[in-house]
């Protein structure tokens, strides 16, 4: 298979064999648990009792960096490790410890996201557990969580994932600052500010920054020693020279500004690893890599010390090394985000702060590097607009076509407008990047997770509308709609149903905001991250950590799951019961409670399934889904963040439909719904149509999504689409797909991620055609049937898949 999409190497600088070896190693990696960080932080904390927590964190960080095992991968130009071996997850006892001890014997038995764990590591972790019990972030949250929130979790409406037991993550540091100054100069700044301030909090913060950055410089110099050692024993001349170069580089790395492109890549990678080591959050991102690295690239090329091929090699190594990192989560939460995800987003393309499109040579090289990498990290995304070069779009389309689902595409026009509507100035809005999966923010100026505070299961809220607020599974009722304490309720009109939805939505959204605040108050202490903070405006200026109000823009959101299931259900109720009066409310409830079983119930099931569905460009249901979005958006201005008035220039809530995989476990908690969905089946993903209900092709999906208030979902409106391989095969189809992307800009779509299914998935499509109604067959003059894929069409697509990927 051809290794490059379009790139034609002129020089011999890129060692493809070595890249293939590294790629294989990463592909075959095994996850394990490492106890080093846990032991070292415990040691450090034991010696800093009584000190300010932020200071303790900083000292612990420095202690870890001084003593942890370090290594340099034999084949890699890029180095820096988070744990003692490849793909090992460090442990962060300061955030939570109980679940770790509970699951010690279960990590390796999981059915997904398995972690190997040695007896020694189990012993290490058991040994330190008692120091941390009752003193973790999770304990603090638990102590402060009122009964109503606990009950709403038991109902299955609210879910606190990371925020109650992990750090926030979701940070994009100001890379330009780091590259231009180096850590030593930032230490100098902190020292000066420390001398000038009399504010206690600020003093602690600056001290923490200094201790942290000094610790990092020690860590870097350890690599110098290691590299020289390895060079001495290295037989291969080329590798020997490379190791020697690393040794030399690390003597002064970050003691001064970055000297060249290679150093720059290494620094970006190091900052990433170190943030991952400081906090057990994830989504520590690279931001707009092609924008802030382009000057170094151009300068090196001009000076003749770098070739395109070498640059591609370095970038690819950097990309590949991202697959060496890992974080472990409780098994229950893992189902909400499967696949060892880290969401280290790296974004290319898009307008610069002056409004001109910034696509450059690095944008193209990054796509080629991602193609060579073929792993899930970094989480690769692309900004585009009407001025994006068509050939860059086409190259991106070629990458999408390989089936990796990347880059996911972000529409500049909508994303920028969304941020400006929050009050963010135009130049900053134009500089946006993706954080995590779909969340949008301003690099170097956003503090916290822009999305995914508390998760709210809207499918469950809908179920409560049907049951007078009483959850059928748990029997818990926190609020009654008609005053009764049982689940009996009758609605005389659609308006009454709508009012009930709004009432319950407000109740649970208010509760979720309270839940966010409880977690945030605890995170301010336990997730104090001086290393992350010193690279974000305005922490250094204000002398505050991110969580205490140091960031310039404090914009957060929850994660709301299942808006299309809700909209489809309301539309079905309106149409079948109230408009057409085909059945009564009692008949619908009865059919739902029986999960559509029985003669009458299965007829009602058909009516429900045949009711209009979002994603088919049908105004009737599409505008009801829009209403659902609006019903939540109008609540937001009343919500305040914990940092309001404490420093940020903007503090507010916005909306996001970035759900990762939570639509699956959320669906498990919800019975049948009026849209015809069967009990326990998944809700819809993001704002995408519910699987199996969009049947008119991709333009209809876009037309439906275009009716939603996308720019108001300013923390990312997630849309996932599937294409059959045949629809992107060949140059002509690829061009039409690029046109399709361009049309999405005009239609005001926020985000789109494309999954081009492989032949394995297509075999599943044969077995379950009802789940693949969105896959399109296009043959000249052939009327592809409205209903599902038929066996002969599936065979045709499968046959094409085998043939059409050797381009």
């Amino acid at each position: 298979m051809k290794p490059f999409l379009d790139f034609v190497p002129q020089m011999n600088d890129i060692d493809l064999d070595r890249i293939a070896r590294m790629q294989k190693k990463m592909e075959k990696r095994q996850a394990s648990i490492c106890s080093e960080r846990a032991l070292l932080i415990t040691e450090s904390f034991q010696s800093t009792e009584g000190e300010d927590y932020v200071l303790r964190k900083a000292k612990a960080f420095a202690h870890i960096l001084k003593h942890m095992s370090i290594y340099i991968e034999n084949d890699s130009l890029i180095f820096g490790n988070q744990a003692s071996c490849n793909f090992a997850a460090p442990i962060f006892p300061e955030y939570s410890i109980n679940w770790i001890i509970d699951e010690l014997d279960e990590f390796h038995q999981r059915s997904g996201d398995v972690f190997q764990i040695s007896e020694k590591v189990k012993k290490d972790l058991s040994g330190i557990a008692s120091y941390w019990r009752n003193n973790t972030h999770q304990d603090e949250v638990f102590r402060n969580t009122p009964e109503t929130i606990v009950l709403s979790e038991k109902q299955g409406v609210l879910h606190r994932g990371g925020i109650s037991m992990s750090g926030d993550g979701h940070i994009v540091p100001k890379h330009e600052l780091i590259l231009e100054k180096g850590f030593r100069a930032i230490i100098g700044d902190a020292q000066q500010k420390l001398n000038e301030t009399i504010d206690h909090e600020a003093q602690i913060f600056y001290q923490s920054v200094i201790i942290t950055l000094e610790g990092v410089l020690v860590y870097i110099k350890r690599f110098s020693q290691l590299a020289y050692q390895m060079a001495e024993g290295e037989k291969d001349e080329k590798r020997k020279a490379e190791l020697w170069k690393i040794g030399k580089m690390c003597e002064t790395l970050m003691e001064r500004p970055v000297q060249n492109f290679y150093e720059g890549c290494e620094v970006c990678y190091l900052v990433h690893v170190l943030q991952m080591l400081e906090s057990n959050g994830h989504s520590f991102c690279y931001g707009r890599f092609d924008q802030y690295m382009i000057d170094l690239y151009h300068s090196d090329i001009q000076k003749d010390i770098l070739t395109k091929e070498k640059a591609l090699e370095v970038i690819t190594h950097m990309f590949l090394m991202n697959s060496s990192h890992n974080k472990v989560r409780p098994y229950g939460h893992t189902k909400f985000s499967q696949g060892y995800p880290l969401y280290s987003n790296l974004m290319i393309g898009g307008r610069k702060p002056d409004g001109v499109d910034g696509s450059n040579e690095l944008s193209y090289l990054c796509i080629e590097a991602m193609n060579l990498t073929s792993m899930a990290e970094p989480n690769f995304s692309m900004r585009y607009n009407q001025d994006t070069p068509a050939d860059l779009l086409k190259l991106a389309a070629k990458l999408i076509r390989t089936g990796c689902g990347m880059p996911s595409m972000f529409n500049d026009e909508v994303a920028v407008r969304g941020l400006m509507d929050l009050g963010i100035p135009k130049e900053d809005a134009l500089d946006y990047c993706a954080i995590g999966c779909v969340e949008t923010g301003v690099p170097g100026k956003y503090g916290h997770r822009a999305t995914g505070m508390t998760y709210v299961n809207w499918g469950k809220v809908l179920e409560l509308v049907l049951n007078n607020g009483k959850d059928p599974n748990s029997g818990i009722q926190l609020i009654s709609l008609n005053g009764r304490t049982d689940s009996e309720i009758n609605y005389e009109s659609y308006d009454e149903v709508w009012d009930a939805w709004e009432k319950l939505l407000k109740y649970y959204s208010d509760l979720a905001v309270e839940c966010d605040a409880i977690c945030d108050r605890s995170l301010a202490k336990y997730d104090a991250s001086p290393f992350a903070s010193c690279f974000i405006d305005n922490c250094m200026e204000l002398g505050k950590t991110l969580k205490n109000g140091g960031c310039k823009y404090d914009v957060i959101s929850q994660s709301n799951i299942g808006p299309c299931v809700v909209g489809n259900s309301l539309a079905a109720i309106k149409k079948i019961i109230f408009d057409e009066q085909k059945i009564t409310w009692e008949q619908l409830l009865s059919a739902i409670n029986n999960n559509w079983q029985g003669r009458e119930a299965s007829y009602i099931h058909k009516l429900a399934k045949n009711a209009p569905k979002f994603g088919n460009d049908d105004d009737y249901v599409d505008y009801i889904v829009k209403d659902v979005f609006d019903s939540y958006l109008k609540l937001l201005p009343a919500y305040k963040t914990e940092r309001t008035g404490k420093g940020p220039e903007i503090s507010c809530y916005t909306m996001s439909t970035s759900n990762i995989t939570s639509y699956v476990p959320n669906g498990l908690d919800v019975g049948s719904t009026p849209d015809g969905r069967t009990a326990k089946s998944p809700l819809n993903e993001g704002c995408s149509p519910t699987q199996g209900t969009d049947m008119r092709g991709p333009t209809a999906v876009i037309n439906s999504v275009a009716k939603l208030p996308n720019s108001k979902v300013a923390a990312g409106q997630l849309l996932n689409m599937r294409f059959s391989p045949g629809s992107l095969a060949g140059d002509e189809n690829l061009n039409k797909f690029v046109n399709f992307l361009q049309a999405c800009i005009l239609k005001g779509i926020y985000h789109n991620q494309f999954n081009v299914v492989d032949s394995k998935t297509l075999l599943d499509a044969k077995e379950h055609p009802e789940n693949y109604t969105d896959l399109i067959v296009r043959v000249a003059g052939y009327c592809a049937q409205f209903v599902a894929l038929m066996p002969e069409a599936q065979n045709a697509i499968i046959a094409r898949t085998e043939n059409e990927w050797c381009m």
Partner: protein, 303 residues
């Protein structure tokens, strides 16, 4: 001016029915009967019902209400005596599994245009548009002229996919209102054409000759179906004829046979004229392409 047309589907994101991203309207009714037809549901203009046996769960709802006991259980799905059954519509409605699909409905030109305009951004960025297909839309000439004129008023490009088997006077009026013609030439010799499609091709060949002088872009479709119209002499005659049409012919698409429509026959309860498995001969297709290119035609094998 006809108010209503009979169509089965408006297919969106069509990538094989002309340039750019298009919407293809499939019209009911055709005056050919090609043995390899992949849209048999469009052969006649009446409403029909397809039965999907794999969706049937033998609940007997339709069996119970079907007139004259015209529906019974088959081993898989239901057996429908379509001559005897006078209430198939009700049976379709009552089926809880959506195992019956109604094909064909009436639509006004205004409503059709309104629906087609919803994808206008996709047409404009890709230089795409709308394609009339089917069946054969020329049998509803007045209607498609009306729709075409309305679409043109909105700047939409129109392609006509047709077999061309009507009198020239009617054909001319239609062609004047479209921008591009996708034209099937299924055989050259009349006898072969009749065996394959049940009709003579004199009108078809003379029509395209006229069209080629009208300054409209033409794409010729040449399907090659092994055992039917793959006689090399006749294929060569086809190519020579196409060449004679001159510069209006922008491209020749060589189409392989596909059996994607074969399941539809069973679902409609009609006999499939092709019972055997037909394998495409790819070296033959390549040969055809080579000959066409050597004669100076822009030939491709369309996949």
């Amino acid at each position: 001016m006809s108010d209503e047309g009979y169509i089965s589907t408006i297919q969106l994101y069509s990538t094989k029915d002309g340039p750019g991203i298009r919407s293809t309207v499939f019209f009911m009714g055709c005056n050919l009967k090609c043995k390899w037809c992949s849209n048999p549901e469009l052969l006649t203009p009446d409403v029909k019902y397809m039965h999907f046996e794999h969706k049937c769960i033998h609940c007997s709802a339709c069996v119970e209400i079907a007139s004259n006991h015209s529906i019974t259980f088959a081993e898989k799905g239901c057996r429908i005596d379509r001559q005897m059954c006078s209430n198939l519509a009700e049976c379709a409605e009552i089926c809880p599994q959506n195992a019956y699909e109604k094909i064909g409905f009436e639509i006004s030109s205004e409503e059709l245009v309104h629906k087609l305009m919803r994808d206008k951004e996709f047409y404009s960025v890709s230089n795409g548009g709308v394609t009339f297909s089917g069946g054969d839309s020329i049998l509803q000439g007045d209607f498609i002229i009306d729709v075409a004129q309305r679409l043109h008023a909105q700047g939409i490009h129109i392609a006509l996919d047709t077999a061309g088997n009507i009198c020239w006077e009617k054909m001319k009026a239609i062609i004047e209102n479209v921008d591009m013609v996708l034209y099937d030439i299924k055989a050259y010799a009349g006898e072969i054409h009749k065996i394959c499609t049940a009709v003579d091709n004199t009108l078809i060949l003379s029509n395209i000759k006229h069209i080629s002088k009208m300054n409209k872009d033409i794409i010729i479709r040449m399907i090659i179906v092994p055992g039917f119209n793959d006689d090399m002499d006749d294929v060569y005659q086809r190519i020579v004829f196409i060449k004679s049409l001159g510069p209006s012919v922008k491209r020749v698409d060589i189409l392989e046979y596909h059996n994607l429509g074969s399941g539809k026959y069973a679902r409609l309860g009609i006999e499939n004229p092709i019972q055997q498995v037909i394998c495409n001969n790819y070296s033959l297709l390549e040969k055809v392409k080579k000959i066409a290119c050597e004669l100076g035609l822009n030939a491709t094998i369309l996949q």
